[in-house]
């Protein structure tokens, strides 16, 4: 890409620490404002040919970066990459550990500074095994340029919900930085999330407000892009902008379920429309419960024709304040196959304290599914209260009736998987937002997670 045109190549230099004398290579050429001595941890002035100590290293704890300084590789950028810089190598040149305090507990995360001499600087951040590639933004989000205020921001048409506002303190630095870094310095930070992205605002004093966009990346991909040995640290919990593994799934399952429901409804409607509802047998009988002889009898033979289909047996009575039970047997006259079923019909009514009431019904329907064609008769055995009145009842057998139970079963079976998936998704979101200090109303984030 470069033609030197007679000028020398900008060469790699090193600085010698005035504190311990060790030499530290400078990886960012003239960008290095601060260089941390790799031997004693003193923060040095990278621009001063004499090299002065800006901050002496005094800490008891030394943090080791998971990714060694000097590591080179392509940076991962899933969606917001603006062109070929995604394909350019970047080098890990700086490392800092920052923390926020919540109820006296320190939460620390690590930031790796990535550098390419033409494309500049990016960050790779890590907290609890969760990684983000972070790019400084050159345009402002909608909803306020000052970080922290307001519950949401909008950037490139996407709404980000506030997740956390805090004061971030630098607790450890290593490598070099193109701006001043000091252990102990603080900045006001605010994070807004729209998984897998995170919009972060950072403000230092009244001098500068910077916005950056983080993209959640898989640690395994970080390891492979940077050709690192071993495996990345395991993930802990759910991170602020970690994409839900269930969110898209629930949406897809609901879309599939909608399709299946429409199909089932279509089949059901077609079934309703094509059911012949043909009366195969109808006759009126009288039953006197006071009679002492065996009340059972058989009907004449009737034909149930066509494909195997549902048969409805209707019992219609003129009952009044009594009950009657009817034992039925539908018998195939040729094969002897028998379908037995018992029905009970009761109807009571009266007037109580000026209010009329009624209970039960004078009629009863029962549907038998998938009865093969053939010649059938009914054996009927009514029974009743021996103190009751004679009852007239009509028995009708209707062939090829519409049934709906299968449709209801299908609806239940179709909606169970997406409901389960939505529940898992909501659980994931609850775990995510449990880490937020923005304490949203418990239900406000449920339900908006079906779609990616």
């Amino acid at each position: 890409m470069a033609e030197a045109q007679g000028r020398p190549v900008v060469s790699v230099r090193s600085v010698n620490c005035p504190n311990c004398g060790a030499a530290t290579a400078v990886r960012t050429f003239g960008h290095a404002v601060n260089v941390v001595c790799q031997s004693c941890g003193s923060i040095l002035d990278g621009k001063d040919p004499g090299v002065a100590i800006l901050q002496q290293y005094t800490q008891a704890v030394r943090y080791e970066p998971l990714i060694p300084l000097g590591t080179r590789g392509k940076i991962l950028r899933a969606t917001s990459a603006s062109g070929p810089e995604r394909d350019a190598d970047h080098e890990v040149v700086g490392f800092q550990v920052r923390q926020i305090l919540v109820d006296g507990v320190a939460y620390q995360w690590r930031e790796y500074l990535l550098f390419n001499p033409y494309y500049g600087f990016h960050y790779l951040t890590e907290y609890g095994g969760h990684w983000n590639v972070v790019t400084t933004l050159r345009s402002l989000p909608e909803g306020g340029a000052t970080p922290g205020s307001g519950r949401s921001r909008s950037y490139h048409g996407q709404t980000y919900r506030r997740f956390q506002t805090a004061s971030a303190q630098t607790v450890f630095v290593l490598g070099e930085f193109p701006w001043q870094v000091r252990v102990g310095e603080t900045a006001a930070v605010a994070d807004y999330v729209a998984p897998p992205r995170m919009l972060s605002g950072e403000m230092t004093a009244d001098k500068e407000a910077t916005w950056s966009l983080g993209e959640y990346v898989d640690g395994v991909d970080v390891w492979s892009h940077l050709s690192l040995p071993g495996a990345p640290p395991a993930r802990e919990g759910v991170f602020a902008n970690q994409p839900s593994p269930f969110a898209g799934a629930a949406g897809r399952m609901w879309r599939a379920a909608t399709l299946l429901l429409a199909l089932a409804a279509l089949l059901w409607v077609m079934h309703l429309a094509t059911a012949r509802e043909k009366v195969a047998f109808a006759q009126v009988f009288t039953y006197d419960p006071r009679g002492i002889q065996d009340s059972s009898f058989v009907t004449p033979v009737f034909e149930l024709d066509g494909r195997p289909s549902a048969v409805r047996v209707e019992t219609a009575t003129d009952l009044d304040n009594q009950w009657v039970g009817v034992g039925y047997a539908l018998v195939n006259d040729d094969t002897g196959q028998t379908y037995e079923f018992a029905r009970e019909v009761s109807y009571y009514q009266g007037v109580d304290e000026g209010e009329s009431w009624s209970e039960g019904s004078r009629g009863d329907d029962v549907t038998l599914s998938r009865i093969p064609s053939g010649r059938y008769f009914l054996r009927i055995e009514p029974e009743g209260d021996r103190a009751g009145h004679p009852v007239r009842y009509r028995v009708r057998v209707v062939r090829d009736v519409a049934t709906s139970l299968w449709f209801l079963v299908a609806v239940v079976l179709i909606v169970i998987p997406p409901i389960a998936s939505t529940w898992r998704s909501a659980t994931f979101e609850r775990r995510r937002w449990a880490e937020s200090d923005d304490a949203p109303a418990a239900s406000s984030h449920d339900g908006d997670d079906d779609d990616e």
């Binding site: 890409m1 470069a2 033609e3 030197a4 045109q5 000028r7 190549v9 900008v10 060469s11 790699v12 960012t28 050429f29 003239g30 960008h31 290095a32 404002v33 990278g46 621009k47 603006s82 062109g83 070929p84 810089e85 390419n116 001499p117 033409y118 494309y119 500049g120 600087f121 400084t136 050159r138 345009s139 402002l140 989000p141 909608e142 340029a145 000052t146 193109p178 701006w179 001043q180 403000m203 009244d206 001098k207 500068e208 407000a209 910077t210």
Partner: protein, 210 residues
């Protein structure tokens, strides 16, 4: 380009103004700051070596702003408490002057806009918004900086300045603006944040190992 050749009033080395709009240049030989008057060249000062910087851009770098080719003719380097940044003076095809700023490889191209109604520095705090050219700009940084060096040809005299205020503003698009309080009256520059690749730069610096 109309170029004018003369000798350095300090050391006699040849001084070439490649751009007719240039007022100041630095003698390659003795590092005198030389300004062009109607009659002759005058030495007004001497610059020290430029501090180290990591910009991929250099004098003579060529590029493309939209469909307009440009060439880098000079620069002012500024130093502030966090580090340094460069304002590269570019001359576009046709002679127009612009500025390509490079702050840790964050690039923007801007042009001077005449506006008599600009806020005093204390009237432009962080988060305040201004509407210029139909664009809503919000203050994102206030930087007290001083001149750290010059190089090449500039369209005005600029050397040996003390601390002055720079107010940077951005929009919800990629608009970029700077209020420059170097002089008695504020100056406004308006432009766009640029991608490195979009500028299609040629003759950039090369870096060992890259």
């Amino acid at each position: 380009m109309a170029s004018q050749s003369a000798s350095c009033p300090n050391c006699g080395a040849p001084i070439v103004f490649r751009w007719s709009s240039s007022v100041q240049t630095v003698c390659d030989h003795c590092r005198s700051v030389v300004i062009r008057t109607d009659v002759d060249l005058q030495k007004v000062g001497v610059v020290a070596d430029l501090p180290l910087d990591g910009s991929p851009i250099q004098i003579g770098t060529e590029g493309q702003y939209g469909d307009k080719p440009f060439v880098v003719a000079g620069r002012i380097m500024y130093q502030y408490e966090q580090g340094t940044w460069n304002e590269w003076r570019i001359v576009l095809d046709g002679g127009a002057d612009g500025w390509l700023s490079d702050a840790q490889n964050e690039l923007a191209i801007s042009f001077r806009v005449d506006n008599p109604h600009l806020p005093a520095p204390e009237m432009a705090p962080l988060g305040y918004s201004f509407n210029w050219n139909g664009v809503e700009f919000t203050v994102v940084s206030r930087t007290l900086a001083h001149y750290a060096g010059v190089e090449g040809e500039l369209p005005f005299q600029y050397w040996d300045k003390t601390d002055v205020m720079f107010v940077d503003l951005r929009s919800e698009r990629l608009d970029f603006a700077t209020l420059d309080y170097s002089d008695d009256k504020p100056t406004l520059y308006i432009g766009k944040a640029m991608d490195f690749d979009a500028l299609r730069l040629r003759n950039v610096r090369t870096f060992e190992g890259w």
